[in-house]
């Protein structure tokens, strides 16, 4: 695998996998936004990036010129053999596929899952609360979403490490390494086919069985391939996204004692704080493939390019948010796009919010004092989903 040429001109040659972007993308996005509402790079076979909220929204709403059949910007564009409806679906297939997934993820459904998530958080905290420090990304934030989704799907929570490995291979290594990507997708498909087969003889009361019992728009049960695709989606989309969101929130609270103390003193601020963490540290950048030439906010868009649909950059647009670069945990008006805009709004947004809320509440209850470990290094994931992958914290009051 060739090492990419380092970026010298962000505006015409940006690279979302450059280590500087991974480390701190916000100043880079400011440069891009100041240059144009849409910028282009020849890297990754040609990619546009909308830099303003307005341009991101225009593309998210435009399913005529922008397809979701590819949703990750990679070095190669292999033929599409495996889809993950509804995230990779366009109209008219999108709506029926999405409606199958919506009822299990409503806020009311999440309330039923909440006690289990609270227990998971406390089980994790029990394992390190007596230690002087912890890598919170490796031992806390990483495990909450994976166990929650395993619980919903009805698969063993201890298989979580396997899922995390596949996701790393698909979302990070897979950007440049096609063999690893394909092998990971195959392993994951094989794993889930086993669970689907098992439920054919012995149905269970979980999300996999719910999907297997669902009927498509033609009144027929979903094909195994459709069920498999949706399961793949739930795993890939539901795990390191929320891992990242919880991690970035904890990172912020570790380095911002004033916000931490205020959140403990005024727990009623938790909902606005969560929305603000989602805005300021949005983990997820989606992608689209241009299928028809068009114009976005005055910028010509040509076919055969991908689009890096950066909801995180939209959420830092000062034309949309006052003090866009400040984290204000009591921000009242917050139309952030962390979960996307338009028909592809994240199906798991209510799950993510619940997990973030519970993970921060339980942590702050048991560990009100913590800070970044000056001897450690915080590292961030690369590419589509951004969040801390190492988060070394010192626990307890500073001595």
């Amino acid at each position: 695998m060739n090492k990419p040429v380092p970026v010298t001109d962000w505006i015409s040659d940006f690279d979302h996998t450059d280590p500087r972007w991974t480390e701190n993308p916000y100043p880079i996005w400011d440069v891009l936004r100041a240059a144009s509402p849409v910028v282009h790079t020849d890297r990754f076979l040609g990619v546009y990036m909308p830099t303003t909220y307005e341009a991101v929204k225009a593309i998210a709403y435009d399913t005529e010129h922008f397809s979701s059949r590819r949703i990750i910007v990679r070095n190669s564009r292999p033929p599409i053999t495996q889809s993950a409806p509804p995230i990779t679906s366009d109209p008219p297939e999108h709506k029926p596929a999405k409606q199958l997934l919506l009822p299990p993820f409503t806020p009311d459904a999440m309330k039923k899952l909440e006690p289990r998530v609270r227990a998971i958080c406390n089980e994790l905290i029990d394992q390190f609360i007596n230690e002087p420090g912890v890598d919170a990304a490796a031992r806390y934030t990483k495990h909450i979403p994976v166990r929650a989704i395993a619980h919903m799907l009805g698969i063993p929570e201890q298989d979580g490490d396997l899922f995390i490995k596949w996701i790393h291979e698909i979302l990070e290594l897979g950007i440049t390494d096609e063999d690893t990507l394909m092998r990971a997708i195959q392993e994951m498909s094989h794993y889930f086919m086993g669970h689907i087969q098992a439920r054919k003889s012995k149905p269970t009361d979980d999300l996999i069985s719910t999907l297997m019992n669902a009927r498509g728009p033609d009144g027929q049960p979903l094909s195994d391939m459709h069920v498999l695709g949706s399961l793949r989606l739930l795993l890939v989309a539901g795990i390191d996204t929320t891992w990242s969101a919880i991690g970035a929130s904890l990172w912020h609270l570790a380095k911002t004692p004033a916000d931490r103390e205020r959140l403990i003193a005024e727990p009623e601020l938790m909902p606005t704080a969560i929305e603000e963490f989602l805005r300021a540290y949005s983990p997820v950048t989606m992608a689209r493939e241009v299928i028809k030439e068009t114009t976005i906010t005055g910028c010509p868009i040509k076919s055969e390019n991908m689009v890096l649909l950066s909801f995180p950059a939209a959420n830092r647009d000062p034309a949309m948010f006052h003090d866009a670069d400040k984290v204000l945990i009591d921000r009242k008006e917050n139309r952030h796009a962390a979960f996307g805009l338009g028909i592809h709004r994240c199906v798991g947004s209510n799950l993510a919010r619940m997990e973030m809320t519970v993970a921060l509440e339980e942590w702050l209850k048991r560990i009100p004092d913590f800070r970044l470990d000056p001897a450690g290094k915080v590292t961030w994931s690369e590419g589509t989903v951004r969040g801390p992958r190492q988060l070394p914290l010192l626990l307890g009051a500073a001595r």
Binding site: L102, P103, P107, K332, E333, R335, A337, L341, G342, R345
Partner: protein
């Protein structure tokens, strides 16, 4: 004196972010897909006007309309 406020969720615009429901549960309800609808005919009871405006100003899809009788 100002008249009563009335809210309406445009079902073609709502994508089920459920921000309105969490900010103003007295004014909005969700269907089985998590999409929002105004409760009753959308008339905002006295004292809940601020919540109605707050819900509107947090809807990412600009799906909420407020009119004044």
């Amino acid at each position: 004196m100002a008249g009563k406020l009335k809210i309406h969720v445009d079902p073609d615009k709502c994508q089920g972010h459920s921000r309105c429901k969490s900010l103003a549960p007295e004014l909005f309800e969700l269907d089985e897909y998590g999409n929002a609808h105004e409760i009753g005919d959308g008339t905002v009871p006295d004292g809940l006007e601020d919540k109605a405006w707050l819900a509107k100003s947090n809807c990412p899809e600009l799906a909420i309309d407020i009119t004044e009788d």
